[in-house]
């Protein structure tokens, strides 16, 4: 993949505000036409990174390239990178048509061509009849689409989206996730999507970068992040996990035996092969869906008592209190029948060692 196929490149980009290092040495390549997400908790520097790409902040170090050309010297209004803001920032004193036409007018395009383009883009977002409406007359989802259309009408190289779904209610957010993905396919433009919501990132993206404390922890396809997290942070942040800290008891290649702080002996797999030794402090992650629950005590695995059930249709969970007083979450199927597991029952929990991932505990995190 040569640089011609890359819409956006960041090369060692850093940004400090005084003594605070908001973004540290970030490098990324985003291929043309892909949906790229930057996922991280609030305050991890993802918004700063996006503002640097858009040109509202200047990097302290590093280079940003769009279509292979450095844009550091290009002011924000000349970069062909458009941005959908967190609260959309639609202009309330203009109607829908004028909002979309604004960018085209800035390019000094002819009236007829503007009219054609605006109606064309409204057709493509499936809102052909709203041109004359005022912004406050639109629903949340419509505003969202207008904000995207306002950028897409300018045919940008890259579209940046800064948590645009944050203000929507849950139901609409779910619908918009699918819609965004479809819009991206339709326009075939590179989307860079910023979010703290891991499900948004996993559902929509071709590739995701997980960001923490101004650095990328891991960049990869959603499946890769979920099943083969590179760091303890990624394992804990992407998806749900049971998390224990403990000490390595024995090492056999990648297979480890770890005793948790509560005294639980657990068989598990080292995530980064071969770097752990006996006696090392580790963090241990097991996803709830890999834990199987069975009635009664068995010789292998953990045993405990069901503390409570969290019913959520197909995603129901059981909270099990183990004999060493730790709570473990495990996915279960509740059919509503009589043989469902009930609170107070004694159960055993088992999982395959390869589904329990071990990471060396960071010195400061321990």
């Amino acid at each position: 993949m040569g640089p011609d196929d890359l819409d956006l490149q960041c090369l060692g980009v850093s940004k400090s505000f005084g003594s605070v290092k908001a973004v540290q040495d970030i490098s990324l390549d985003i291929a043309s036409g892909s949906f790229f997400s930057i996922l991280g908790p609030s305050g991890c520097g993802k918004t700063t990174l996006m503002r640097m790409i858009a040109g509202f902040e200047e990097p302290s170090a590093g280079d940003i390239r769009i279509k292979g050309r450095s844009v550091l010297e290009v002011p924000p209004n000349r970069r062909n990178v458009k941005m959908v803001f967190q609260h959309l920032a639609l202009f309330p004193m203009m109607n829908v048509y004028e909002n979309i036409a604004y960018g085209l007018r800035c390019q000094r395009m002819g009236k007829e061509e503007i009219r054609r383009k605006v109606h064309d883009v409204l057709d493509r977002i499936a809102l052909p009849d709203v041109a004359g409406r005022e912004i406050h007359q639109l629903s949340g989802g419509q505003k969202q689409r207008i904000a995207i259309a306002r950028c897409m009408v300018l045919d940008p190289d890259v579209l940046l989206l800064d948590e645009p779904l944050g203000a929507l209610d849950l139901k609409l957010r779910e619908a918009m996730k699918i819609e965004l993905k479809l819009l991206q396919h339709q326009f075939n433009t590179t989307f860079v999507y910023i979010t703290h919501d891991q499900s948004e990132a996993l559902v929509m993206s071709d590739r995701v970068a997980v960001m923490n404390n101004g650095r990328f922890e891991q960049v990869g396809a959603p499946q890769e992040l979920y099943h083969r997290p590179a760091t303890a942070f990624v394992a804990g942040f992407v998806g749900d996990s049971n998390r224990w800290s403990g000490r390595v008891q024995s090492v056999d290649g990648a297979a480890l035996e770890v005793a948790t702080e509560g005294g639980l002996p657990v068989k598990c797999t080292a995530a980064n092969d071969g770097t752990l030794a006996k006696g090392d402090r580790v963090e241990l992650f097991v996803r709830p869906e890999f834990i199987s629950i069975d009635r009664g005590s068995q010789t292998s695995g953990l045993s405990g008592i069901v503390d409570s059930l969290l019913f959520n249709g197909a995603n129901s969970r059981a909270l099990v209190r183990t004999d060493s007083e730790e709570l473990v979450e495990a996915d279960i199927t509740l059919t509503g029948g009589t043989d469902d597991i009930r609170p107070g029952e004694r159960v055993s929990l088992t999982w395959a060692p390869e589904n329990a991932l071990c990471f060396a505990a960071a010195g400061k995190a321990a």
Binding site: P75, P76, N77, H87, M93
Partner: protein, 289 residues
Amino acid sequence: MNRRDARRLALILLFMPFALWIALLILLPHIGMGVLSLREKVGPRQYEFGFGNYIDFAQEPIYWNTLLRTGSMSLLVTALALIIGFPIAYYIAKIAGRRSRGALFLLCLVPLWVSDLIRAYGWILLLRETGIISGALQYVGLVSQPVEMLYNDAAVIVGLVYTVMLFMIVPLTSTLDGMDDAMIEAGYNLGGNGFTVLRRIIIPYAMPGIVSGCIIVFMLTAGSYLTPVLLGGKNSSWFTETIYEQFITRYNWEAGAAFGFLLLAFTSLVVWLGLRLSGQSLTSTVARS
């Protein structure tokens, strides 16, 4: 007495001071003035109903010239206050940090702690023939003899702009403060340059504040008396002076009342025109801020 009556009574009592103020100090005097302005003097202590006072005004060019002059100079003051006040308000609302914002606002307020009269004398101290500016110019050698900078239109306009500046800055700042910074950034992001963003986004967004500030400033200026008299002297010919003259010097209350109404009608007309031209309404501007 049940609870509903009690609540109604509380409401009436709360509303009473305002109602009394409007009725006794605004409505009643204006009705009295209205009646007064429609009395024609036909002989000593003899009056008749008629429009004579208004007709006198229309027939005497010096009167309506003074009114037009007051109006146009007030518009000039309003425009100057807007041009000077907008960048200040923009700086306070958008560029200054949270902490310095309060201090800057306070700085704008400080002149109001001193009475109008003292402030006008402050300007006199600066601008008169033996004043500070004249003295400084002589000291530097730019002029060879004292210069009189008082008692001309420029002095009146400078003094008025200074007096009303705050009333322009406050509504502008509060409207600009409500504007999401992302909107300005979006303006740039979509390809607008600084001028486009100002003209197409910031000014339209701030329009209610601009109009409301302009209305307040225009009304205050057109109705001001002290500053034009002190800084403009006898030749300032401000319309309020004409009214004062009718009431106090000539003891012609009938004409004075008529002039007062004409000033009210004239300023109302200008404000109405301004609202029509800017596409705003009173409720969207003055009532909002």
